[in-house]
């Protein structure tokens, strides 16, 4: 039988923790949760005199939120689904927020104070297109008010109270696109204006209460109409033509339409390029933005227009804000260096100009939302919500930034981990030590009281507060356990943030793309980030750094660029605009003499460029070149190709440029298979052992290779959503492919199954999740891979003497025999993301981290997914911890690592090891961020924070005293015995 010292011990420990969770008072000790909303695209202010001042916003990440205007805190927030983009938001009846989403097909009302959904109406729109919402002010049937949703050529009036569609009018005209709806005051008639095929202007009179069509008229336009309009008064609007250089003034008095063409060059001197209309509301003023300036134009009388104001630089202009009958205000914001000038213009006249300094890592201003308040002297004051290039949100008032939100963190696209600096010796004063010692003693006395159940509620609160503000976890230095690290994240806007794992604060943030913006690099965007230097042995005095890779334009052939950034400070160490494009960045398991990791940048012509540029890096790579391969998954062509590298490339003669040679390709038949998911092992995953010991003391050798690629394909009919294919037409094929030789190691077909497929590969196993159409349930399958060619290494004598080839390097070209074991289970949830825990040495048992549909992270022990399970395990198997086979994977509520929190729109889960073998960091991101530390087999290698050292100390002291006393007593007794 086997030596179970270590394994048995671990097993006992892990068995004792089939399910474990944290206590309520432990929430927030190791974890943190940050809520964001994303890049704001609409904002509606709600600033009544009474009650809280708030702003309701909708974002690019499909979130709707109500923010406190004073602090910027989220009062409530809802995240709509991925395909439910918000088109427009509005306020109705002063207490509901209306949101139109999914291209105008869903209208929802939310209660303004608490964000409860009041009603939801599916407008059943057949061909969703650009649509808009118009809240009618004065059609009152009882206490109700109507909201109009216009979509193409149809109008729906929805009651604001209960969301019922009161009437529906389909104007059934081909090519009609309604542009504007308005209602003259004190009238029951609605005017709807639309364009038919960009050449006809149509006007409809509709009864607001019944939806009856009263009158309609059409008129040919003198120019081709674009879709941009600006309503300037109750009977006129301005449209822009398709060439974007002419304006069309349209008037519709008493059922007739007149239009008048006005070339922009007549109004604005030195006009050139393309103009843009800023939507306004009324008062005969409209705003035209041209590449060189912003013009405020007033309409006077019949077809007379006049330029009343001009902002010279092309700034960002807000929507109009109506102050009174005659006055409307705009905000114009310019950006220069690290300051923005904020200008409010009332009726085109400059009313207020403020200059505000902001951090230069926020980039340019992207959007402005203007709001006013009445000062005590009855004059108008202005505040503005500003969306910056890095997607952060600022509130500006009286020349100051009142609050700012880092909402760029809602769109993380990639993340890596970096170490913190090593703590410097000395520098701690005696006073500080005494103070901390006293604190320490106090803290432990409190804890002791807690343990002995003597503490009062006050003490309990003190203990809780102490836990939370413990300064130890927020230090800016490395710790022994590896709990403090930096998570460096890249967001969609190209901004890089370093977050501290202790409390999630931003250590540094940089928006790097503006640094590059130039003629040679017109629109830089960052694609990914990698660890560039991870010093551990040779280059400890060097700071760790990260590599940012991006490209200068949109297309795959545009030139790439590299940034190397210091991870401690965020300082840019090196910038490089490359002379080739970037299709892929391949980190190699090699490093040069200064611990810089070697990276191959593959360009669109399949040449490989080696970075860093240095002779020793080149030497290291050339030595290993024969063993380096590249593979490419072409999702569109359903092909996977493998390449080897060769000296000399097709585009230049640089020594750092290498050509590629195609070695193999796996072509999936496009009429029956489509690639839906690929997965591979993490490059830096550590595996403790290659042997798997079975219950009967038999040994199986794991097939552990970094070059296994898991590929899942589905039938083309089943490539759509669930329900798009019948079970007979749907199948899912799972492949395991060796990426060095292109050999298919294993292939399995699941009939009646379809995607979405989520897979994770670790050690010698792969777990994937898919939908079973026959059973109408989600399934998870595990495949474990074993190396049959080493299976005969079972002679104990040979193993004792070390005469075996188990540690000899293996090559894929030896074509090792593979055996697989697999098992499938039903799983209740659909899955958004899947990952696996990684620990420093790979001894601790694994947990699969599943991002569930409820935006939570579930830690599922790997032993639930064990192909060795049988329905009736033998006594020995039970001893080993093999549980009976069940058809469904259990979901234990305590094993949610996010406990009660939700990570809105969960997109990714990342696990990285701490120095303690038992513990791993888990970072999950979506719109929210959530970080925690988990111990899949409990913390068997350290004492918990709960451990009472004082109790231990007292016990030891008491024991020593007891020993001394009894020893003295026994001595005395012995002496007396002897004298007797």
């Amino acid at each position: 039988m086997e030596a179970r010292f270590l394994l048995g011990f671990l097993l006992l420990l892990s068995l004792s923790s089939f399910a474990f969770a944290i206590y309520e008072d432990q929430v927030g000790l190791a974890d943190w949760h940050k809520r964001y909303i994303g890049k704001v695209k609409h904002a509606v202010f709600h600033t009544q005199k009474t009650g809280r001042r708030r702003v309701v916003v909708s974002t690019e990440e499909n979130a709707i939120a109500s923010l406190d205007l004073r602090t910027g805190d989220i009062l409530w927030r809802h995240v709509l689904g991925k395909n439910d983009a918000v088109d427009q938001i509005g306020l109705s009846l002063g207490k509901y927020v209306l949101t139109l989403s999914s291209q105008g097909s869903v209208l929802r009302a939310w209660n303004l104070p608490d964000g409860q959904m009041v009603w939801e109406t599916d407008l059943q729109i057949s061909n969703p297109s650009n649509s808009f919402l118009h809240v009618l002010g004065n059609v009152k049937s009882g206490r109700d008010s109507l909201s109009l949703v216009c979509n193409g050529g149809s109008i729906r009036a929805v009651s604001s109270i209960d969301g019922l569609v009161v009437w529906k009018k389909d104007l059934s005209v081909d090519g009609l696109k309604l542009k504007h709806v308005f209602q003259p005051p004190e009238s029951d008639t609605i005017y709807a204006i639309g364009f038919i095929d960009s050449s006809l202007i149509a006007l409809y009179h509709i009864n607001a209460k019944t939806g009856e069509l009263l009158k309609h008229a059409t008129q040919a336009s003198s120019v081709d109409l674009s879709s941009e309009i600006s309503a300037i008064s109750s009977d006129s609007l301005v449209a822009l033509d398709t060439s974007r250089s002419n304006l069309l003034l349209i008037k519709f008095m008493a059922g007739t339409i007149t239009n008048h063409k006005l070339p922009l060059s007549d109004i604005v001197q030195d006009f050139s390029g393309l103009a843009e209309l800023i939507p306004t509301k009324s008062n005969d003023i409209f705003v035209v933005k041209t590449p060189s300036n912003v013009a405020f134009i007033k309409v006077k009388g019949d077809n007379e227009i006049e330029l009343i104001g001009k902002a010279d630089e092309a700034g960002i202009v807000s929507d109009s804000l109506i102050l009174s009958e005659e006055e409307q205000a705009f905000a114009v914001v310019h950006h220069s260096n690290n300051a923005i000038s904020f200008q409010v213009r009332i009726n085109g006249r400059e009313a207020l100009t403020e200059g505000i300094k902001i951090e230069d890592h926020r980039g340019h201003v992207k959007r402005v939302f203007l709001n006013n308040y009445v000062r005590t002297d009855k004059s108008h004051g202005f505040r503005a919500l500003i969306v910056m290039e890095d997607e952060s949100l600022l509130l500006m008032q009286q020349g100051e930034v009142v609050w700012s939100r880092e909402d760029g963190l809602a769109s993380i696209s990639d993340a890596v981990v970096a170490e913190l600096p090593v703590e410097k010796e000395g520098g701690v004063s005696v006073v500080e030590v005494e103070h901390t010692l006293l604190e320490w003693l106090k803290g432990h006395m409190l804890k002791l009281k807690g343990t002995l159940m003597l503490s009062t509620p006050d003490d309990m609160a003190a203990i809780q507060a102490m836990h939370l503000k413990s300064t130890e976890r927020n230090k800016m230095t490395r710790d022994h356990n590896g709990f403090r690290k930096l998570i460096i994240v890249l967001t969609q806007s190209g901004k890089v943030y370093a977050l501290h794992t202790g409390d999630g604060r931003i250590v540094w943030a940089h928006l790097l793309t503006p640094l590059l913006q130039s003629e040679s690099c017109p629109s830089p965007s960052v694609l990914t980030l990698r660890n560039w230097r991870v010093p551990h042995r040779k280059a400890l005095q060097e700071n760790p750094s990260i590599l940012l890779v991006g490209r200068c334009g949109a297309g795959p052939e545009s030139h790439g660029f590299l940034f190397i950034v210091d991870s401690y400070s965020g300082k840019v160490l090196e910038t490089q605009i490359l002379d080739h494009s970037i299709a892929e960045v391949v980190p190699l398991p090699l490093a040069d003499s200064s611990e810089q990791k070697l990276h191959l940048v593959i360009d669109d012509k399949l040449n490989a460029h080696l970075y860093p540029r240095g002779s020793d890096a080149l030497e290291v790579f050339v030595r290993e070149m024969a063993n380096m391969y590249y593979y490419k998954v072409e999702n569109a062509k359903e092909v996977i190709k493998g390449y080897a590298f060769k000296k000399g490339c097709s585009t230049g003669s640089s020594a750092y440029c290498f050509g590629t040679r195609e070695l193999w390709s796996v072509v999936f038949p496009s009429d029956s298979e489509r690639i839906v998911a690929t997965a591979r092992r993490k490059i830096n995953e550590v595996v403790h052992t290659q042997a798997k010991i079975m219950t009967n003391q038999d040994v199986m050798y794991k097939y552990i290779s970094k070059n296994i690629l898991f590929v899942a394909t589905v039938s083309p009919k089943a490539a759509g959503g669930i329900g798009s294919a019948a079970p007979d037409e749907a199948w899912l094929v799972a492949y395991l492919i060796d990426t060095v030789t292109g050999r298919i190691l294993h292939r399995v077909t699941h009939q009646g199954a379809q995607g979405p497929v989520h897979a994770v590969v670790s050690e010698n196993w792969v777990v994937y999740h898919y939908f079973n159409l026959r059973a109408h349930r989600y399934e998870m399958t595990v495949i474990e891979i074993y190396d049959q060619s080493r299976a005969d290494n079972k002679d104990v004598m040979k193993l004792v003497l070390g005469k075996h080839n188990l540690t000899a390097p293996i090559t894929s070209y030896s074509r090792p025999e593979i055996a697989t074991k697999s098992q499938s289970y039903f799983f209740t949830h659909s899955v958004k993301a899947i990952a696996v825990t990684t620990t420093a040495r790979g001894i601790t048992s694994k947990q699969i981290l599943i991002g569930t549909i409820g935006d939570q992270v579930l830690a599922l022990d790997k032993w639930y997914l064990d192909p060795r399970q049988t329905a009736n395990p033998s006594q020995e198997e039970k001893e080993e911890g093999i549980i009976p086979l069940t058809d469904t994977l259990p979901i234990i509520p305590q094993s949610y690592v996010t406990h009660t929190r939700q990570v809105g729109d969960l997109r990714g889960i990342m696990s990285f090891p701490a120095n303690l073998e038992s513990t791993t960091h888990v970072f999950s991101y979506g719109i929210d961020l959530f970080y925690t530390r988990i111990a899949p087999s409990r913390t068997y290698d350290s004492l918990t924070d709960e451990f009472s050292y004082v109790l231990l100390l007292i016990t030891v002291v008491v024991l020593i005293v007891a020993i001394l006393v009894t020893w003295a007593m026994s001595q005395k007794k012995d002496l007396q015995e002897k004298w007797r």
């Binding site: 039988m1 086997e2 030596a3 179970r4 270590l6 394994l7 048995g8 694609l527 490209r551 795959p556 299709a583 892929e584 391949v586 980190p587 190699l588 398991p589 593959i602 669109d604 063993n627 380096m628 391969y629 590249y630 593979y631 490419k632 998954v633 072409e634 999702n635 493998g642 690929t678 591979r680 490059i683 595996v687 403790h688 052992t689 290659q690 042997a691 010991i693 003391q697 038999d698 040994v699 794991k702 552990i704 290779s705 970094k706 070059n707 060095v740 290494n793 079972k794 002679d795 104990v796 193993l799 004792v800 188990l806 540690t807 000899a808 390097p809 293996i810 090559t811 894929s812 070209y813």
Partner: protein, 176 residues
């Protein structure tokens, strides 16, 4: 404790064998003559010595057979302890291993009190050793049934690190 006992015994033996006084330099107390009683009791002491030798031989055999009882008791305890690894069975097994080993180590000392030129101690000594080896084997057997002896291939490879791979392939889906 063990050491104290042994010392006490040695002292007692020395006392009975007073002819070889360990302190020849120390003068006898006044009025004490060493030779007088010796001469008087020569025939009586021989008889006494014969009886003592017989007694010693008998005792030596008894001591030699003592581990047998121990063996039986150990066997019973092991049977009681069962075949699963837990504190009780581990304790029993380790004491079953430790007792014979310590007994074998002190085999000289165990038979020292019965040392006599007329007594042949080799046979009891051999029996003692054999019985203790039996006990040791019993302990080993128990250790094996508990699965704590590295007799399987799995015991030698359970922490074998994975073999190094020669090749490395990197890549994936290109950026679009």
């Amino acid at each position: 404790m063990e050491k104290g006992k042994a010392m006490a015994r040695r002292w007692a033996v020395d006392f009975s064998d007073s002819s070889s006084s360990s302190h020849p330099t120390v003068a006898d107390p006044p009025g004490f003559t060493r030779s007088a009683p010796d001469l008087d009791e020569t025939s009586g002491s021989r008889q006494k010595k014969d009886a003592e030798a017989a007694w010693k031989a008998q005792k030596a055999w008894e001591v030699a057979q003592a581990p047998f009882k121990n063996l039986l008791m150990m066997g019973f305890m092991m049977w009681m302890a069962g075949n699963t690894v837990h504190l009780f069975s581990m304790g029993i097994t380790f004491s079953a291993l430790w007792q014979p080993i310590s007994a074998l180590r002190s085999v000289g000392k165990v038979f020292e009190p019965y040392k006599d030129p007329k007594v042949d101690l080799n046979a009891p000594r051999l029996l003692f050793i054999a019985l203790n080896l039996g006990g040791l084997l019993l302990g080993m057997w128990k250790l094996n049934t508990l699965g704590l002896l590295p007799t399987h291939a799995s015991d030698w490879v359970f922490s074998l690190p994975p073999a190094k791979e020669v090749e490395f392939a990197g890549g994936g889906s290109p950026f679009y």
